[in-house]
Structure formats: C-alpha cells, structure tokens
C-alpha cells in the first residue's frame, strides 16, 4: 500500500508523518521523546500495560504506544498535567514493588530506575506497600525476583521455546498477579535464550543464574573512560553574607548506614568553602550531641526504625526551620526497610538467636528500658513529620547534596545535572 503523508501537531509544532505509523516512532523522528516502559519496538500490537506513555490526543488522554498517526492528530506530550500523570504511574510501580536498588543486579541498566532519574522522582506520593512477594529459585537457570516485577508482559509475550511454547505466563489477577515460569519449558531454552529473556526484562526480575556481570553497566563519574564528559562540580560561588552571619546546619543519621554522611564529606576541600558559609550545630560531623540553638536547616539521613529515631526526628523538626531528607532511607525506608516484609519477631530471632554468629543455645534478646525500642517496621521520615525537601539517592552524590542545600539556604537556582542526580 502506498504511504500517505499526513499533518500532525506535537506540543504546538506541526510535522508531517506517515499515516498509520506508531505515534511513539513519529514523535521520536521529530525530536519528541515520549517515555515508555513496557514498550518494546519488536512487539506488535504493542503491550500497552505500563501506561507510562500517556499523552493527550486531540484533548483526550490515551497511550501513545497504542495509537497510530492520523491526519489532524494533535498531541500534547509535555503539559504539566501529563508530566505529573506519568510520574505518578512510575511512582506507583516503586510503591507497589520492593525495589532496593543497591542490592539489585540490574541497577544501572534498569529501565524503571532510568524513568525515576528522567522524571526527577525524589519521593513517591504513594506510601510504599512493603508486601512480600516470592523469590523463585526453582528453575535451573533463572531466578525470578517477583519483588521487582512491573508486570510489563514482555516475557509473557516474547519468550518461547523453539517449539513455540510459552515459558512465562501471568498467574492470578489484580494486585496478586505475578509471572509464573514453566520449569519444564525453561529447560528447553538455549543458554542464549535464557540470557535474552533476562535482557528483555526491563527490571531485575528475570535473573540468569550464575551470569555475573563482567563489566559495570552504564557510566559513572569515576570511570577512566575519557570519552565521557562530566559536568564538573560547581564551586560554591556564594557571596559571604555582609552581616557575617552564617547559616546554621544540623545533621543526623537515624536508621541509615552513614553513607549519606560520607557523601556529604565527598566534596573534599570544598568543605572549607562551606564552612565560610555555614556553621554546624548538632551533628555527627562536629560531634555536638545537643542542640544549642535554633537551626536554619536540619539534614536527616536514615529512616525511623526505633523509638530513639522517633524522638530525635521530632526534636529536629522543632529545632530546625527547614527539614531536608537525604537518601532513600529517610525518604521511604531504603535498605533497612528490607525488614518491613518480615514480622518483627522473626527479625529479632534471626538477629539474636538463629544467626550464624549466635552461640548455641542463645536465648536472650537484649531488653532494657534504656535500649531504643524497635518499631514494627522502618518508617520514612515523612510518615512522622513534615518534610520540606528531598534529596534522593543511595547515597546522593556530594555535589547534588550541596547544590540543593545551597539553593535552599541562599535562594540560588542552580540546576542539578543528570550526572549528579544519577547515583547507581
């Protein structure tokens, strides 16, 4: 059939495109990026499961992947509402599953993580569910980590044995849906097909067993590859306030690993410049244990795992005008929240009674009124107090942190570059 060229509009600009072409493709050809997750260019008809590519078409919301170009098509890709809508969908996926990126083999090469970066997600508007989903080691070459599955359907649709039999298929429905694997059919896949399946999975749910990652995925600041140009960390080019008054900063580490604090120190000699501008009050950096005055800003690392964290956090809210959450732990629980899907009793018994290092016949779980009491799960600090700003990452990069703090304290408006935002 002859190709017909038609007129379309994207965000107010007019273009020509081939009638019947996928809107995603047509937009891409004209320099418009529409984010997608489940979309895989070889699969037709498109899967249309994640809904991340929602746009407005002639005023009505619809998914770009499932729509074909027609004459007079008027598409809005980047209105504030649409951008927020897409962001909400990605946030839902983070809240629904259990994503501990630092412990995930796919980190750095994960399409969900990438959407998080692209959309600038710092804290999800939805409380994380922390519901345990199975980890299935039963098949010979594939490990299924259902906590990370985003139900995109790629594997269900694409992965077949040479006889044309499916290996993956959805089980149950709704909130309980998961991808089942046919152990017998899995045996019939070639090693290459197993690898292909793992690569097809946009996240770290299908893992090919025993295939260690030979080289790091993606690129990082400290790579020696000279072809990558990083934006250099910006100097703290702030005038010292005329009145000589420094801003007062307090920091604390609740249920965190101190990694975020280490990152704070990562600006190296820049810390000397910082000290020209700010004065530290209560903080592990100064070892000042008690607040001695009201502070301009309180930087919180870590979530709330026990009664002491809770008290400290509440004091910070009182003593600091602005509260900034840094790192995933304070934002939603992070790595310590791995315990949230496990009953507290099992956690305690594993830690004190049944672990490899506990002695035979160990029967004491420490208890004293001075020991902080464990909460039923690790809470994000926003569950407990009002938080003014979030700096995501695990840990966030030093430049990212200081750039933000500077912006907040001195009203500067410097952009945080992608390279600083990306932490994997």
């Amino acid at each position: 059939m002859e190709e017909r060229i038609v007129n379309i509009k994207i965000d107010g600009k007019s273009f020509q495109a081939i009638e019947g072409q996928s809107l995603i493709e047509a937009a891409k050809n004209n320099g418009f990026y529409i984010p997608t997750l489940c979309h895989f260019k070889e699969i037709y008809p498109p899967l249309g499961t994640c809904r991340v590519c929602t746009v407005n078409i002639n005023g009505k919301p619809d998914t770009a992947c499932t729509r074909k170009v027609f004459d007079g098509m008027n598409v809005e890709v980047n209105t504030p509402d649409i951008l927020d809508n897409r962001k909400a969908i990605v946030e839902m996926l983070f809240a629904e599953g259990n994503h501990y990126c630092p412990a995930c083999a796919k980190s750095g090469d994960c399409e969900l993580q990438l959407k998080g970066y692209e959309m600038g997600i710092s804290a999800t508007r939805f409380p994380h569910l922390f519901e345990e989903r199975p980890r299935d080691f039963k098949s010979e070459r594939i490990f299924m980590e259902h906590n990370r599955c985003i139900q995109c359907m790629r594997c269900v649709h694409e992965v077949k044995t040479n006889d044309g039999d499916r290996v993956f298929y959805f089980q149950n429905r709704g909130h309980n849906m998961l991808v089942g694997i046919d152990y017998e059919k899995e045996k019939k896949l070639t090693d290459q097909q197993v690898l292909d399946a793992a690569n097809l999975c946009p996240v770290g749910c299908i893992i090919a067993k025993g295939k260690t990652i030979a080289k790091p995925m993606g690129t990082r600041r400290f790579d020696t590859n000279k072809n990558i140009k990083w934006i250099e960390g910006t100097d703290l080019d702030i005038e010292i306030p005329k009145d000589g008054k420094k801003k007062i900063v307090a920091t604390t580490s609740l249920a965190g690993c101190f990694g975020c604090h280490m990152s704070l120190l990562d600006i190296d000699l820049g810390i000397l410049d910082v000290l020209e501008l700010v004065e530290f009050n209560k903080s592990p950096l100064t070892d000042i244990k008690k607040f001695t005055k009201q502070c301009d800003i309180g930087i919180i690392e870590g979530g709330v795992a026990n009664s002491e964290n809770f008290e400290v956090l509440r004091e910070f809210r009182k003593k600091c005008d602005i509260i900034v959450a840094i790192g995933e732990c304070s934002i939603w629980g992070g790595m310590p929240a791995m315990r949230n899907t496990i009953p507290l009793k099992d956690c305690l018994e594993e830690a004190y009674l049944n672990s490899i290092s506990s002695e035979n016949g160990e029967d004491i779980i420490p208890y004293h009124e001075d020991i902080p009491k464990l909460l039923d799960k690790v809470y994000s600090i926003q569950d407990i107090i009002k938080v003014d700003y979030y700096i995501p990452g695990c840990a966030p990069n030093a430049d990212h942190i200081w750039q933000m703090i500077k912006n907040i304290l001195f009203g500067t408006k410097q952009k945080v570059e992608y390279a600083d935002f990306k932490y994997d």
Partner: protein
C-alpha cells in the same frame, strides 16, 4: 472428562475446565497435564487461565460449594448475619472446606439477585432472602442427604413499572417471530438504517450508537463475522439482563439474529456469566425451539441466510464484561482487556469482525424491527431514545425492574419505588456516580445522568464508609492486573481509604485521593480502571462534612501502636 473428547481447540478451554471443575469440585494437576498435552500449550499457561477465574479451584472443594454475595446490598440486608450462620452451621470459615468434604464456603462479587438479598448460590443454584434460620434449614436438609434441587428457590421477577398506556417497549407482550418476519423483508443496509434512525445506543453502559457499530462491522469484507451477546451482567446491583433472559429469551435471540443478518454474520455466541447458570437450560431450550421452527440454522425462512447460536459460560470475573476481555475469555484465555489498537468490529473474536452487544440492546433491536424505529425514537429524550431498564435495589419498598422512559427525574424514580429518607445513591453501579439529595431534581438521560441499569439506594441509617469500603474492595478484587494505574492504584487508594476510616488521615491526604483517581481515569487500559475511582471522588465532593469529621487536624504518628509488636514479643520472653 474423557480424554478422547478433548479436541485441540483453544476456544474450548473454558468448557473443558468447567467439565473438570464440575466433575470433582476442582481441577487437578493431572487434568492440567492432560489439557496441556492435548491442546499443546504450556502447563503454566493453563494454570494462568485457571487462576484468573474466581470459580475455578486448584484445591479440592466439597460436594456443595456455597458462594455468598459480598455486595453492599447483601450487607445492608443482613448478609453478615447470614454469613455467620453459614459459618456456624458448617463449622468452617470463608474460603474453607469442612473436614467431611461436604461443604465449601466462599464469598463472591454481586450475583445479580440484588432484589432478593441476602442471597447465595449453592452449586450455582439460587437461594434468596436468606436468614440465619433459613440457612440452618438448608444445611440440615443437605446434611440429611436431601436433594439440592428440592430446596433451591424459584426466583420471582419483579417488573415494577412499565408504561401504563400499553406503550412499553421491552416488557410488552412477546409475539414470537414478529421481529424476524419484519427483518427478512428488509435488506441488511435497511436494517442498519432503521437502527440508526431509532437512535438506539448500547445498553451495557457505554451507550455507543448500535447502528453505527453494526455498520462498521458490515463494511468489513471478511466472510466470517461474529455476533456476541454480552450476558456477563457483572456490575453490582444490576439484574435486568437476568430478568430479560428469564422472561423473554426469544426476544434476545431474535435481536441476535437481527444483528447477524445486518452485518453478515453466521455465528452468534451468548457469553453467559457463571452466576446465571440456572438460566442456561431455559436459554438452550429456546434456542433449540428456534432451530425447530426454522428461525435458526441454515437458510432461515428460505432467505439464504444461515445463523447458528451457542452459549459459552464465564467463570467469575467482572472484567470479562468488558467486550475485549470477553472475547479473550471466549478464545480460552485469561480475561484481560485488549489494547484498543483494533476495535472488535475490525478484529474481534478470532481476529474477525465482531459485534458485542448487551442483552437489553439486542432485545431493543428486536423490538425496533417489530415496532419500527419511529415508534422507538418517539420515546425518550433528544440524546437518549426509547426506554431503559433500571434494576433498583436497597432501601425502598419496591425493589425490582423499572422500564422507564429517559427523562424522568431521580425524585420521580424514588417515588415510583417507594423510597424515603434516601441519603446516598450509587447510580449506574460502582463504576457510575454517587448522588446525594442535591441531585434529586436531575434527569435520567443522556443530557444529564446516564444509567447502565444499576441503582442502589441507601437511607440515612447507612454508614457511607461501609459503602465506600465495599466498592473499593470490589475494584481491588476485580482489577485484572494488566495495567499499572488500576492494579496498583486501586490498591493504594484502598489503603488510603482504610486510613481515613480509622481517623488517621489529614484533609490534605483525603483530597489527594482525587488526584490519584484522575491518574486512573486518564491512564487505565480499560473502562474498569477508568471508572473505578468515580465513587470515591464523588463521595469526597458530595459528602464533605463526613470527611471533615474523619480528618485529622495535624499529622500524627501513632507511636504506641507501632511499638505493639515489640512489647508483645519482649513480654512473652
């Protein structure tokens, strides 16, 4: 079932699964192996289909499977007491089977008997107007070895209102074959023109113009086309299709023949929800009768027009009422809605052009053939012609079916059914709208408030949060799971609603639900997700006082309950 009877036809999968399920009360691993071998599909795929449907079980169930309705109408009519009575008589909790393997007890979404609640199905036979005492008698009878058929209820259909000047459209006297006699005098184009002129629009709730849908299907050059009747009637509170099938099955069949003739299809399928299995015999007998009198089969009335009709039974999934999910289900798959890359009229059942219409739509189409489009379109309003069946249930004197003309007000409807003191109306089902007193002067019509059929009435004594929680759970349980906003969103909204109910949310957190709801509305893959948050958004808007009372002034964290687990544990040790 006998392995030899299994043909390698995927479209038969649901039928085979039903045979296994009915024979033993569950589907065994051996059954799955058999099906996997004979149909040449992966074992995991069969498991995936089974686990999609509510009524297929992988673990043995008792000789009697009892399904009690979990809908809000059942609850307000004392459903919880009835549930407790079952649990007491049987000695089991929901989801369990008694040790003797005689009884299994489950809950299920609305079973389409809202005017007779509390109601339950036992081995898919209806038991209505249940009370604890009636439950005790039923169980006693069955324990003694009495027959189920002997005590199953006969359902009375209450047709409470129709035009009193003899101008009703659906519930007038049925004269067998009248529609077909008029049909065959016309050419297919003329039939479609007549449908368009009548102004008939889809009665399943989406109100798509029927004539236009048929025209699209007719235009396709494909030799094979299909006519499908959507008798899945899953919207809680609706029972009009049940009554139509029970009262005038012939009219439905004539409507389907009309559709087949108009678009050039030779095959029709009625997708009957499993909950209506007790209507199947009647429907089958009527179909057989139509074959006998030459209105179905080959060369109907010598007009060189063939039309065959079969029935397929669903297996418990509200979403299968969505037309593309229904088609997937008919093809032997999980009932997940398709993307709208193709419409059923382009590529439907087995990728062939297909029209899917509601029971009431087909019945109306048959009446249009019989009475003419002019008569039909003389009723109703500008945008919505003809009449509409409402299934009214809940707090009123006369629950039942009302054949109204479009254009009457909510207040007129309330007067007709003898409802007083109404505080909350769930209008057009859980996917529809919430109405409060302020809406009583609004008109039921395409210009103002459309209604797919379900009207649930609640008076001042009802706790609005009971209603909202019930509807929220309905959507959580019935979401197919294919798309993010509906799968994750409804669950997250359910959690937030729980928090509000427990006085744990601020006004900001309450209002936030509305913006979450908008995401589902804009981005969900099918109508289920798109409409699933109407009720909660409406409720927040229409009952602000109620939410204000629940709202926290400031964010508060309940430290002592977060420490409960810890103290419970250390105290024990």
């Amino acid at each position: 079932m006998n392995v030899k009877e299994i043909k390698n036809e995927r479209t038969q999968l649901l039928n085979y699964l039903w045979e296994f399920q009915n024979a033993k009360g569950y589907i065994s691993t051996a059954d799955i192996r058999t099906l996997s071998r004979e149909l040449e599909v992966s074992w995991i795929e069969i498991e995936g289909v089974i686990s999609f449907y509510h009524f297929f079980k992988r673990k043995p169930t008792g000789k009697y499977s009892i399904y009690i309705n979990s809908s809000i109408i059942s609850k307000i009519k004392g459903g919880d007491k009835v549930k407790e009575a079952f649990e007491k008589e049987l000695g089991v909790k929901l989801g369990e089977t008694d040790p003797s393997g005689t009884f299994s007890f489950f809950e299920t979404a609305c079973i389409g008997l809202s005017e007779h609640e509390p109601a339950a199905l036992i081995n898919f036979m209806p038991f209505i107007n249940l009370t604890p005492k009636k439950v005790a008698n039923i169980i006693k009878h069955l324990k003694k070895g009495g027959k189920l058929e002997d005590i199953a209820d006969k359902i009375e259909d209450y047709i409470r209102y129709k035009n009193d000047k003899g101008e009703a459209i659906l519930f007038r006297e049925y004269k067998e074959g009248e529609a077909i006699m008029n049909l065959i005098k016309k050419r297919p184009e003329e039939v479609i023109a007549e449908m368009k002129q009548s102004g008939l629009s889809g009665r399943g709730g989406a109100f798509f113009p029927t004539g236009m849908k048929w025209e699209f299907a007719k235009q396709s050059p494909s030799k094979q086309k299909y006519v499908i009747c959507n008798a899945d009637e899953g919207e809680p509170g609706t029972f009009k299709d049940r009554v139509l099938i029970n009262q005038i099955p012939g009219l439905l069949i004539e409507g389907m023949i009309t559709g087949g003739y108009a678009i050039g299809a030779s095959k029709g399928i009625i997708y009957l929800r499993a909950e209506y299995r007790y209507l199947r015999k009647k429907l089958e007998d009527t179909i057989q009768h139509f074959y006998n009198i030459g209105l179905l089969g080959e060369n109907i009335l010598g007009k060189n027009f063939d039309f065959d009709l079969t029935i397929m039974q669903g297996a418990g999934a509200y979403v299968c009422g969505e037309e593309t999910a229904l088609i997937e289900s008919l093809e032997g798959n999980r009932g997940g809605p398709r993307t709208k890359v193709y419409f059923p009229v382009e590529k439907g059942y087995l990728q062939k052009p297909t029209i899917v219409n509601n029971v009431e739509t087909f019945c109306s189409a048959a009446r249009i053939m019989e009475l003419g489009s002019e008569f039909y379109s003389s009723k109703g309003t500008e945008k919505t012609k003809g009449t509409k069946l409402l299934s009214i249930s809940g707090d009123c004197k006369k629950e039942g079916i009302y054949e109204i003309e479009w254009g009457i007000t909510i207040q007129e409807m309330l007067d007709l059914c003898g409802a007083a003191d109404i505080n909350y109306i769930q209008f057009s089902g859980p996917s529809g709208n919430v109405l409060s007193k302020k809406d009583f002067n609004r008109k039921i019509s395409g210009e103002d408030l459309v209604c797919g059929g379900s009207v649930m009435l609640f008076n001042n004594s009802r706790d609005v949060f009971d209603i909202l929680t019930n509807l929220s759970n309905f959507f959580i349980n019935e979401s197919c799971g294919l798309c993010t906003p509906c799968r994750a969103g409804n669950y997250l909204i359910g959690k937030r609603l729980e928090k509000i109910r427990n006085n744990g949310a601020t006004m900001e957190e309450i209002q936030e639900i509305k913006s979450w709801g908008q995401v589902l509305k804009d981005s969900s893959r099918c109508g289920l997700g798109k409409t699933s948050t109407n009720f909660i958004t409406d409720a927040i808007n229409k009952f602000p006082e109620l939410f204000k009372k629940k709202a926290l002034k400031n964010k508060e964290f309940d430290l002592s309950s977060a420490l409960n687990d810890y103290y419970d544990y250390v105290k024990q040790n």
